[in-house]
């Protein structure tokens, strides 16, 4: 029995008569303790997919099951790290995490809750910033708070929705290492959504491409059999790395790529007859300006 199971999931948005299908035929099985990365185009429906697992959205058809129990609503057993951090700006780092701890473990004594919060602040190396508001933190620090909040709730599965998308390359690299370290320490099931194939390969056990939307679906899953710890610099020369990368990118650009889009439209181009400078300047109020004709043109462009 898989830990997390999505079976024939379809999801669309919009009113019934002109509904755009975002996800189609999603089948996914994730084992306990596995780190899975889902890579896809932006706008393909990656966030929709994670919202379905989180329970923030309901599938139109098909089932989403965690430990064989259908997911119908959001819950603390699935920790979500949102793309844009989603910290409450009026609370400090400590209070943001404590809010979650207080909610998930209401029966604990206050000291235990505080110690638990402190532990996770320390885990993401934010102890010096514990009493700062999110507005005073950098993007990377905010994302770490967001990760700490999700982890502090001790979820069974951690859903990371492009957690590093808005960060610069250097901060990104540091946080990637930190995510791996935390994952190895906590051994939780992780689903990472990203648009960066290299990030997926570096972090995950398994990488699954999501084809371009509308009607995106998951491509063949590729196991990342590179032993850990993975070295960011050395991995680039690993032949297995190149092979995995080729497979995933090959799917995304080929089979799962964007369908060819044909646009045909009528264009009206400004067709000007230039001003005749050979004629002497006419008296006042008479015009010697460029003349304009309209020209119609039909053009068909094929976007690949």
């Amino acid at each position: 029995m898989p830990f997390l199971q999505l079976k024939n999931v379809n999801k669309g948005f919009g009113p019934r008569d002109k509904r755009t299908n975002v996800l189609r035929d999603i089948n996914l099985e994730i084992a306990q303790g596995e780190f899975v990365a889902i890579v896809g185009y932006s706008g393909a429906g990656k966030t929709t997919l994670i919202s379905l697992i989180a329970g923030l959205l309901q599938a139109d058809s098909g089932t989403v099951k965690l430990k064989d129990v259908p997911i119908t609503e959001p819950g603390p057993d699935r920790g979500v790290v949102f793309q844009n951090y989603s910290l409450l700006p009026w609370l400090t780092v400590f209070e943001n995490i404590y809010l979650a701890v207080d909610q998930i473990f209401p029966n604990w004594v206050k000291e235990k809750k505080r110690a638990h919060t402190e532990k996770y602040i320390a885990m993401v190396n934010l102890t010096p910033a514990r009493d700062k508001k999110p507005g005073e933190l950098s993007g990377g620090m905010r994302q770490r708070v967001s990760v700490a909040r999700a982890l502090a709730a001790e979820p069974q599965i951690l859903l990371l929705d492009e957690p590093l998308g808005a960060l610069d390359a250097l901060t990104r690299a540091t946080l990637q290492d930190e995510i791996v370290r935390i994952w190895e320490q906590e051994k939780r099931t992780v689903v990472l959504i990203t648009n960066d194939v290299d990030e997926g390969i570096l972090l995950a056990d398994r990488i699954i491409p999501l084809s371009a939307g509308p009607g995106a679906t998951l491509g063949p899953s590729v196991a990342v059999d590179i032993p850990r710890p993975r070295d960011r610099k050395a991995i680039n020369h690993d032949p297995r790395y190149k092979e995995i990368r080729r497979k995933v990118i090959g799917y995304l650009l080929g089979e799962g790529g964007k369908p060819k889009l044909v646009i045909s439209r009528k264009l009206v181009l400004p067709d000007l007859i230039p001003e005749d400078l050979n004629v002497a300047r006419p008296p006042m109020f008479a015009r010697r300006a460029p003349k304009r004709r309209a020209e119609e043109k039909r053009e068909t462009i094929e976007l690949g």
Partner: protein, 297 residues
């Protein structure tokens, strides 16, 4: 040293130039007393004083100051029901405004939250709000008088004198409350609708209870909008007080203004206008300071 010079000019000299210009225009259009000696019907020489000027009955700045002096110099003196020092009148008016204003906040904020949270509630009550919103305080006051015609509330306050509300007082409070409520209602509603979906998702993922979602997420997220509404509401409450006191004839700054107009004592009208303006400005500054303090985002 240079910045001190500029600071002085910017904050003190420039406003003074503006005020000086206004006083100058006031002086130019106001009337002056001119005394002349004329021969009357009996052939006697008599001294006749008459006022001349663009607006002959408008007192000059100097005359205004002379007439206002007792009210400004002794601001807390009470010589009669409608003859009291300026700050005493202000205090009476502010007391009334405060009562109406707090009723407006207590009613307006929850209504705003309901409007922001529920589409059905909005569909039911929005048309009524839009219809009632533009109604002038002058129109509400008579209705208030009718509503509270036979009402006479006595509030028992422990360890203090009982406070009795008369019909006119209740009508004034009612008018202030209903007129100043709308900015709070509408701003709160806009604020609730503007809460980012992310914050609501956080509450959903953590499964916060309804009351916790309200007080930990919704209220803090709406606070800046609410305070903008509170500030606008206070401005309107202070606007309404003059109309309410004029019509009810209650002692207060507006009542004093109306009484002095009827008594042909025009200098005091100007005094009242200036006082109302200054107090209104002070209240607005105060509220914007509170607003800055409660800025959560």
């Amino acid at each position: 040293m240079d910045w001190i010079k500029r600071f002085r000019i910017d904050t003190f000299v420039f406003p003074l130039i503006g005020i000086g210009l206004c006083v100058l225009i006031w002086y130019c259009i106001s009337g002056r007393e001119i005394s002349s000696t004329v021969k009357d019907d009996f052939g006697d020489m008599v001294t006749v004083t008459k006022r001349v000027g663009l607006s002959e009955d408008l007192p000059t700045p100097a005359e205004t100051w002379a007439a206002s002096k007792p009210y400004v110099i002794k601001p807390f003196e009470k010589r009669g029901e409608l003859d009291q020092g300026m700050l005493r009148f202000t205090w009476l008016s502010l007391k009334l405004v405060a009562q109406g204003y707090f009723i407006a906040l207590l009613l307006g904020t929850p209504i705003g939250f309901c409007l922001g949270l529920s589409k059905t509630f909005t569909k039911i009550f929005d048309p009524i709000i839009q219809i009632l919103r533009p109604v002038s305080p002058l129109a509400w006051l008579p209705l208030g008088m009718v509503l509270f015609l036979s009402a006479k509330f006595t509030v028992h306050i422990p360890f203090a004198e009982n406070v009795t509300y008369t019909a006119s007082e209740l009508a004034a409070i009612f008018t202030i409350a209903i007129c100043s409520m709308w900015p709070t209602v509408l701003n709160t509603a806009v604020g609730v609708r503007a809460i980012p979906q992310d914050y609501i998702n956080v509450a959903r993922v953590l499964k916060l209870s309804r009351s916790k979602t309200l007080f930990k997420v919704l209220v803090p997220a709406t606070l800046p909008y609410m305070f903008t509404g509170f500030r606008l509401s206070l401005g309107i409450a202070w606007l309404v007080i003059v109309a309410a006191e004029m019509l009810t004839g209650r002692p207060g700054i507006g009542g004093f203004l109306w009484q002095q107009y009827n008594a042909l004592s025009y200098a005091h009208i100007i005094l009242c206008i200036l006082t109302i303006g200054i107090i209104g400005y002070a209240l607005d500054r105060l509220m914007s300071m509170v607003e800055a303090r409660f800025k959560t985002i």
